[in-house]
Symmetry: C2
């Protein structure tokens, strides 16, 4: 029963997640597996996950770490020029291929050119029905990188009309505007980009724990992202981009990018949707849209969130790791109260 | 003799400087006094310098700390509603009064309203010929704060046409554009805002040592500031805003704002002006404009800069303090080679 103070979510999904490896993986995997029915696992390890064997081994380490939780890791491969045989092998073991456009430079024309060189792989992915997930930023000025990349998305969406393309972790009103203009273009958005702007990162003291890539943008960008999420825009999915870094890499000279939100994401999203009177749209945002867009059926999992105080831990520790989450030490208004 | 590889600067001035107090003051004062003939000393101590006695005592501590260097600290008082008697006492002991518009809020209309309440003091300052120095930012979105404040500058410049107003540490093309539109409006600009953009603070790793307020803006802003400096815009003066923080306040969770440039500012400016073929304009930017605009005659000091390698120290230490400068550990192409 869904009252105003309680909501049962069916099989919540995190469509963009970093689990890292080794001891960090052991710490953070259960923190997602506890409340999510599945998550799309990013392949940017060192070296990257770009072979069937590496992917299977990584999945094994994840399932070992998740313990008894009902949880499906949707694996991804790191983009490179794959052969048709490689793609055929990978296809049934993964959800899609993640592209970091390292070749893209300050102007989007060059970005598209860099994409040209790998079009044979895109063509095969299109024909074989393998989705493409893209970190869409140029190497331009930090506030313009996503906007400059949008024409590359359009180029791809038009040139490969059957290729399913996900704009990962969008951060701008311009990206929201593009969403829905092409049948084959969808997006994920993080928790933090629905809540913060550059002000929260650098408007007062510099806050390394809210520093992420793409960087949080302007108030009007946050507003557009939030509105699309609250309205359960049919092409938008929740993807936390939760990215743990050891404390030593955050509170230091030259801090690494990434916000750790996995353990509190569902509670905080419930609070956010409730605050805007849109609780009824959370199910679509956090699971149904992704199920429809990727044609996946996650394991059954009922997650009850209730309007009650939840103190976010100051840190999550274990396996020699120490990770500071978003909202560390703060009290949220909503809590996950049961999972079955 | 000024050749292409050498320049003699007459009495360089830093028109915006933080010396702090106590042990930090003892460390950093000689680092400015060594190469500058004078500097405008910011009054934002705790408690602020807002009385004749506090000002005279602070000047005494500075002159004690500067050692044998020929150096004149141009004192400032922290803005509040002063009486006419107080202003008469202060006038000959200081260069001007520094306003931090704490009452200004997100919209500039409110900013102007906050300014309304203190207009009697402005009126007296205008009549007595006491300059006003302003930290011109609203409390709006971090990238818009200076631009939003510009209409307050215009309001003041028009309402008090004989009040000499300095827009401190400008960071935007919009502020440059305003410069010169009013006879009584001038500005300072820092070294770092001629060199960096937000990209250098948060485009790669987060760099706390380049985090300052106002925050570095967009490439087109830096370009406009640099062009005005290189052209020795008659209303623009060098003011380093050099602001030392102990290392513990910089490489930490929630980093303080301020870039420490004092000991390398002259060498780095020479390198910058030389790189653009504008060495001949450095004298105006670093001293002559300020002398004319403030009608001051600093002590005689000849500072020779030469095109030769200068390794910036990784840190400046002493008196129990440890401060990391801009360009720490880097090699500059120009060096101060003699002072007389």
């Amino acid at each position: 029963m869904n009252t105003m103070n309680e909501l049962t979510l069916n099989s919540p999904l995190d469509m963009h997640l970093h689990l890292r490896d080794e001891e960090m993986l052991k710490l953070v995997t259960p923190l997602t597996a506890e409340t999510f029915a599945g998550a799309v696992i990013m392949p940017n390890l060192v070296p990257p996950v770009d072979s069937l064997r590496a992917l299977e081994e990584y999945r094994y380490r994840i399932t070992e770490a998740q313990g008894d939780h009902v949880f499906n890791p949707y694996m991804t491969a790191f983009f490179r020029n794959y052969t048709e045989d490689e793609l055929a092998d990978l296809k049934y073991e993964m959800l899609g291929i993640k592209l970091y456009p390292a070749g893209a430079t300050t102007n989007s024309e060059a970005g598209v050119k860099a994409i040209d060189a790998v079009e044979p792989t895109f063509k095969m992915m299109e024909e074989m029905g393998i989705p493409l997930m893209v970190h869409g930023e140029t190497h331009g000025f930090v506030m313009d990188r996503e906007k400059e990349f949008l024409e590359s998305y359009e180029y791809l969406a038009k040139k490969f009309p059957k290729l399913q393309i996900t704009m990962e972790h969008i951060t701008t009103a311009d990206a929201v505007e593009l969403l829905g203009r092409y049948e084959n273009l969808r997006a994920t958005v993080t928790l933090q980009h629905l809540i913060i702007t550059l002000d929260d990162v650098a408007g007062g003291m510099l806050n390394p724990h809210l520093f992420c890539k793409p960087i949080a943008k302007r108030p009007e960008d946050r507003e557009a992202l939030l509105q699309a999420a609250l309205d359960a825009h049919p092409s938008l999915m929740f993807g936390s981009d939760s990215a743990p870094h050891p404390l030593s890499k955050k509170e230091c000279c030259g801090c690494a990018a990434g916000v750790f939100t996995a353990p509190l994401a569902i509670a905080r999203l419930a609070q956010l949707f409730d605050a805007h009177g849109k609780l009824g749209n959370l199910q679509a945002f956090i699971s149904d849209n992704a199920q429809r867009l990727y044609r996946i059926t996650p394991p059954e999992k009922k997650v009850v969130v209730r309007k009650q105080a939840f103190e976010v831990p100051a840190a999550y520790q274990g396996h020699g790791q120490h990770v500071v989450p978003m909202h560390a030490g703060e009290i949220l208004d909503w809590a996950v109260t049961s999972v079955s």
